[in-house]
Symmetry: C2
Subunit: 350 residues, 2 copies
């Protein structure tokens, strides 16, 4: 029988209905990019030698070369087609931005809008056009993570930015438009609803139990050991109890940690190990998988302020099942793969 | 410059960024079912003559024939691969279901779940395997709408069902698995989060202004006439101010109406006219469009109860832009098509 499961982080529900994987399907699976991907592509703006096709870099790790020249290992550039733009490029009344508040639910906010200011950066992970998260060495992956942290910290310091969303889109179903491997970082001028909801739930949980929601969740999952995909000393990868997507995972620091900015060098390396193992497993299980990786981490707390009630983490959403009418209409997901089964496939006990 | 817009119905945000439609794309657009679709398909479980391949029908409009035989114009059957199932088929403790409440955000609800009871029905719209919403006559469309209303009312009367979600998935990006045109109806044993959020916002708006959020929105949009796609006496089709998807529309009764069950024969016909015009326009604008149609309508109020604060409506979400990392991570959408431009394309003033 299908089961309805509640997700304590988001307050949404998933119907775990494994029988539905037996449905017939009139549509051939959407065409993925099937030809072998070359190591470099002369037409790719992120490939070595094409540095002038992107806006000037804001950060890079280099073996050699000057800014915006070859020789980099990881390179960060502003998005050429930004969803949000820094204030320098346009005339924006800062007063309007500084006073941004959550709109009221009344007739004054029916047409609430604000200028699309913020930041939108691309972290080009590798000079290799065909690089994948499962291919990188732990050293390479560590450098990518350190670069993400570096840019996250810089954007958190921007007075117009209230939240920094780090994400990676992979494959056509994941919304990637370019093949060359890259993360993206968007600095938003407001606290986004998904994050506000999680924050609210962390605070609510703490006020009722005196403890951290995520610490408790990690402790219980570690004890049960039914949905643990993999782990090392500092990180654990779980298949969430109410997973929305088949083979969804959640990467969490095992010890309480409020924000991503607390990650020291040793922990960055341990996170890199976990990324490498997890994505090698994904690449072994699926020949071409679309997914989204999203970081949930509040801005670095100012020195003077009390740290917020949170415990940063990373969601991986493989886009194996399409979100359709029930997901869009009701915010109820249908997932044909029980997370216990997914954990088994990752090598956990299931 | 991109603009961040707030959606008063859901409390989420959309970045309207038309420049982003100029991005390069390495992925060919996902293959749609391109061959002409035949009028009947011997392998299709919803085609005439294959009635025995579905579970027995629960409702039909017929020219001739007995139950589960050819001769039907519209036919409703339980889903063979249901996301949720009626209680009759399994032993479920009704006490557990009747006492279903919103889970607390504490350690007692970390693993909250309930049996997947409810209903999942398929409304086969037409004997034609290649029927489309843009092809039907107004008479045919009226019968489809009357059938949806009929089944919605029956499911609302089920004591285990707290919300009835009517939806239609179309095309591979819309999550449709079968080509034969059909609506789906899922009876959920709980009030889903998306609907709870809208309900909360309607109540909040009414308590602050004394008026109906949707009536006010329709009135303002009608006055402005910048985002009206089309209208008739009883219904209006709007391109929402903070549209998440390119060419998203919202179909609303122009006069205050709490639930879909209030729709009389004349209004059903007017809604059918609007559906026919709108989907003819969609089919003219796009050669093959994936989309989801979702109804938002609370259960028929019991006679004794005060009607809830709501105004039913229908969302149409064309799946032209892929929801990716920012949408999943932050619940902030990026939409490259301003709704004012979409309204123009539908023949509105824009």
């Amino acid at each position: 029988m299908p089961e309805l499961r509640y997700d304590i982080l988001s307050g949404t529900y998933t119907i775990t209905a494994s029988e539905r994987s037996k449905r017939p399907n009139d549509f051939r699976s959407a065409q993925e990019h099937k030809e072998p991907v070359p190591e470099t592509d002369p037409g790719c703006p992120f490939c070595v030698g094409n540095e002038s096709e992107t806006p000037p870099e804001v950060y890079a790790l280099r073996d050699s070369g000057a800014e915006n020249e070859p020789g980099w290992r990881v390179r960060v550039v502003p998005n050429k087609f930004p969803a949000l733009r820094p204030t320098e490029t346009e005339e924006v009344d800062p007063g309007r931005v500084d006073t941004q508040i959550t709109p009221e639910v009344d007739d004054t906010s029916m047409y609430w809008s604000m200028p699309g200011i913020g930041a939108h950066e691309v972290v080009v992970e590798s000079p290799l056009h065909n690089g994948t998260l499962g291919d990188y060495t732990v050293d390479e992956m560590t450098e990518i993570i350190e670069t993400l942290k570096q840019r996250y910290r810089v954007l958190c310091d921007d007075k117009y930015i209230k939240y920094v969303q780090i994400f990676r889109n992979w494959g056509p179903q994941g919304g990637a438009s370019l093949l060359h491997p890259h993360f993206q970082i968007i600095g938003l001028p407001l606290m986004p609803p998904e994050v506000s909801t999680e924050m609210f739930r962390f605070r609510e949980y703490e006020s009722k139990t005196g403890r951290c929601l995520m610490c408790d969740y990690v402790e219980r999952e570690t004890e049960k050991d039914e949905r643990v995909a993999l782990r090392n000393e500092e990180f654990i990868v779980l298949c969430p109890f109410a997973s929305r997507f088949s083979f969804e995972t959640l990467i969490v620091p095992r010890k309480h940690s409020v924000t991503f900015s607390e990650l020291d060098n040793d922990k960055a390396r341990q996170l890199a190990e976990v990324f490498a193992s997890l994505f090698r497993a994904y690449e072994d299980l699926f020949s071409s998988l679309s997914y989204n990786i999203v970081f949930h981490t509040l801005p670095t707390p100012r020195r003077s302020r009390k740290p917020p009630t949170d415990h940063w983490h990373i969601h991986v959403y493989p886009r194996l099942n399409v979100e359709a009418g029930l997901e869009k209409g009701a915010a109820v997901w249908i997932n044909p793969t029980p997370p216990e089964l997914a954990a088994l496939q990752f090598g956990g006990k299931g």
